[in-house]
Amino acid sequence: MDHNKKTGIGGKILLALTMIFFYLPILYIIVFSFNDSRSLTKLGGFSLRWYEKMFADSTMMEAVVYTIIIALLATIISTIAGTLAAIGLSRSRKVLRNIVEQVNNLPIMNPEIVTAIGLLMFFSAIGIKKGFLTLLLAHIMFCTPYVMLSVSPKLRSLDPNLADAALDLGATPIQALTKVIVPQIMPGIISGALIAFTMSFDDFIISYFVTGNGVQNISILVYTMSKRINPSINALSTLVILLITLGLILANVIPILKEKKEAMGKSSGKKGIALGMAGIIVLSVLGIIGFGGNSKMDAVAKYGSDTLKLYNWGEYMGENLINDFQKEFGVKVITEYFDSNEMMYTKLQAGDSYDVLVPSDYMIQRMMKDGMLQKLDHSLLPNLSELAEGVQNLPYDPDNSYSVPYFWGSVGIVYNHNNVDPAVVEAQGYEILRNTDYKGRIYVYDSERDSFMMALKALGYSMNTENEAEIQEAYEWLLDMNNTMAPIYVTDEVIDGMINGSKDIAVVYSGDATTILEENEDMSFWMPNEGTNLWSDAMVIPANAENPLLAHEFINYVLTYEASMDNSEYVGYTSSNQEVLDELSGEDGLYADNEAYVPRAGYEKDEVFEDNPVLKKTLAELWIKVKAAK
């Protein structure tokens, strides 16, 4: 560059603006990590509750450590491998170079989910145990191309004769490499390493599908736990910021101190970084010491093992349930989360083993058909007698041979009764979503089956119809809604959106409606007369479970009054335990005046989803077309 070493005033302003742009969201995250309210967009008072929650959650703390270790190892390995490969590549024949460059672009260019499924199938095919090693291999796989992409431009502008000159002057190839080439391309290597670290640190989808056995990184937790709002994610991010900043300060301060002592400092910068990184690891490892489970021998004697692997929806469990269960039975519970039934099904099909799962109705039906579930031993489940009336005799498993209901509910309309006349909602039902008086004021739940349920019900058809004409009619209904109402399609953001009153009408699950009604008094809930989807999520034991005895114990435990109460109070979804249901909805109950908490039972137009993979694909495609239509 030119000699002007000082940054001019224009440059300073530019850098300042850049920093505001980059750090505004970070500041936002930090501020909201101290927010007393559960909202991610509205500030309440000051509180440390999310930090308490985070530190009490050993899964989170473990995830921090795994993330850092994996990211550091993947960065180091892929930086070295990528640099060597890039140097080799720069000397290769053009054909080979072109091929490698194109193949290298694949992991960068492919949607992550494609790479993830490819690796999932690959690791399953070679029968490698999923966990730390598979996670690390996958990260090295997708990080290395980034390093090469950073190093290659530097190599291209490097004089190819330099290395030859070094060799001619008697340097060994290794000397030529480390003393001549590497220093020249150092900026490229550093930026490659930074990008590799970022990619590894931030990766969710690939990590999700290639890991297993309780090894999870922060991104997996963030993604699966934000299923419903969880500000402890903000606390976790703040902790990460703190750790990284600390590491950077160490990296910068140590060399300065050293310089003062030794009055030399050329290589100490790198040492400083290494020391800083080591510092981060030590800090974070220290941070989680003491969180380890305290297993007891009698658990092993009684159940054959002291570890239960639970695979559940994110944010779908009472705050104390797992800890209480661990204490009472002297076992350790490893929890992993999923965000859709299909995600869970994919991992299970790839051979991953869990002891207890909590899929939804139609998915249970499919898994029963596929022989993926174990028959339950009712003698180990005395608490089955506690089951609420509304979840007995469910069509997919009427005598609970394979499944025990966990939560249940319906789908209905939440509306702001100050802006929308209840009489209109009750008269129009789902048709209100096509009432242009409310244009631009509606949220629609982004799920093909629930949207088609709404349209089919509005038209007076069954939501399980396979009749093409009826489906076509429903498609046109939805298309009309899309084109005339300017709806916003959301999933879990609907909770925060309605709590803040951003829109006036929303189609939501009754359990989410319960939360919305608790937090915002202006909101009311209506289950349309046209009928709705009566859904249920239930606990099942997969056929390949390693620990079915303990799994039964867990299912039985969840049905107890204490556990069900904890669950329903915290999550807001309708309990499958009759006593808890009665108490919470009773006069002095937490959800006494909450019309969303108790689903309508025995209404003839309400239905339960049936499994139909072909129909599901058809609806999914039509639904995308509805959303994408302009």
Binding site: V100, D159, S191, D202, M343, V490
Partner: protein
């Protein structure tokens, strides 16, 4: 010259096992139909026909490419001056700035994007701030503006890193020479600095454009569910509708389009790079 050529072979082996084999497994899905079980499939081109003959899907593809191109252009326009200013400063402070720019990318992308949702909302931080001056409120969330902003925010650090790497340690004597030969600062920038930094710009473009085409979190959160980009279509096929065959086919179509455009970029790239070598 050929000493280091062999270093590529282990990596070629690694690529074959870890990238090519899994991709072939995905390819198998793209050309087959029925179920998730590999046992009961038959070969077909239906998945491709289904996508390529549907006006809605083609629109989605077009929109995705446009958004990605817009994001890339904005990233170059913003990223180059920032990288230039950083590279121009003293070496120590430039490391500090680079770290400051990288640090936010280590916070989970989903969390950062959620933060933008809060900032851009109708009654969010930015509108409240503008309200103090009596401006607005503007509708920002669930618009193209929000989606592009989210993408630029997430991807511009990679552009800055790449351009900075190519500007750092650039042979300063070249610029001195240009100045000595009577070039004014603008000329020496356009004739010397810019051409020499182009390889970095191009790899920055790769690093922004590729992930931008297939991203699905950002459009989903900042654009709303109605903001369907091709990444969202693919994601839905795998994660909700369970149609792996269709999902694989779409990603293959996308891969081909992108490879073609990268190949074109490289064609453009060869000239300035050759100039750079000669310098």
């Amino acid at each position: 010259m050929r000493q280091f050529r062999n270093m590529i072979y282990p990596y070629v082996g690694w690529l074959a096992v870890m990238v090519v084999v899994p991709m072939l497994m995905i390819l198998l899905y793209a050309f087959t139909t029925a179920g998730n079980e590999v046992t009961t499939f038959r070969f077909t081109l239906d998945n491709f026909v289904r996508f390529l003959t549907d006006a809605v899907f083609l629109d989605v593809l077009k929109r995705s490419l446009l958004i990605a191109v817009a994001t890339t252009i904005i990233c170059v326009i913003l990223g180059y001056p920032i990288a230039y200013v950083i590279a121009k400063g003293p070496e120590k402070s430039s490391f500090f700035w680079i770290m400051l720019i990288t640090l936010p990318t280590w916070i989970n992308m989903l969390v950062r994007t959620y933060a933008w949702v809060g900032i851009l909302q109708d009654d969010g931080l930015l509108n409240s701030f503008l309200g103090l001056f009596g401006i607005g409120p503007f509708r920002m969330i669930h618009t193209t503006f929000a989606v592009v902003l989210g993408m630029v925010y997430n991807f511009v650090p990679f552009m800055i890193l790449q351009i900075h790497a190519s500007l750092a340690k650039m042979d300063r004597s070249l610029i001195e020479a240009a100045n000595d030969l009577g070039a004014n600062p603008v000329q020496s920038f356009l004739r010397v600095t810019l051409p020499l930094s182009l390889p970095g710009v191009l790899s920055g473009i790769t690093l922004v454009f590729l992930p931008a085409v297939s991203s699905f979190f950002i459009p989903k959160l900042l654009g709303g569910g109605q903001y369907v980009l091709v990444g969202n279509v693919i994601e839905t096929q795998f994660l909700t509708s369970g149609d792996w065959n269709f999902g694989s086919a779409i990603s293959l179509i996308m891969a081909v389009i992108i490879m073609l455009s990268m190949w074109l970029t490289r064609k453009v790239d060869t000239d300035p790079a050759a100039g750079g070598k000669g310098a």
